[in-house]
Symmetry: C2
Subunit: 98 residues, 2 copies
């Protein structure tokens, strides 16, 4: 039941409200994103591996770009056609890695 | 000396010629790219880790995007302002992973 609810597409107002919980992320339409800078490529990769562990746990996977020492993450719930609580839960868990 | 030469920007004709050695890659301006499909996110990540090892060995790093079971790699030599032999050497080494 709770999981079902997490998969409901959020309204724009709901998404805007949840943005307060992840202030380092940027809301752009149906996607929230954040960039992260590391010392080098290995730093990027170690971070991506940690994100992957959380993604597997939550069964929810960000789109990831790695450009040497910079990693960008993009979250949206394709099944729901937009943002859901799952995206914000994953973003918050990723923030806790840092 | 050989390494110096590898870092010289290739002419369009030279790049087009070297494309024959990596037929699964696409040449688009100053970048060569290839997409790879895996079974799932873990498959993508394992591949990215293998690519990372080669990238560190060659001290040359592709831009990488991971979208669940799909990985895309983009190669160019920023220092040279375009494609160099290093890009084609890395592409060929990545192809040998598969």
């Amino acid at each position: 039941m709770a999981d079902q609810k997490k998969l409901e597409r959020l309204s724009e107002a709901q998404a805007a409200e949840l943005m307060a919980s992840v202030p380092d992320w940027t809301l752009d339409g149906d996607v929230i994103s954040r960039g992260f800078d590391f010392k080098d490529f290995r730093g990027s990769l170690a971070f991506v591996e940690s994100v992957a562990d959380i993604a597997e746990e939550q069964d929810h996977h960000p789109d990831i770009t790695i450009s040497y020492s910079r990693v960008s993450l993009f979250l949206s719930t394709h099944k729901a056609g937009g943002l859901t609580e799952k995206d914000f839960a994953l973003a918050a868990a990723i923030d806790r890695l840092l």
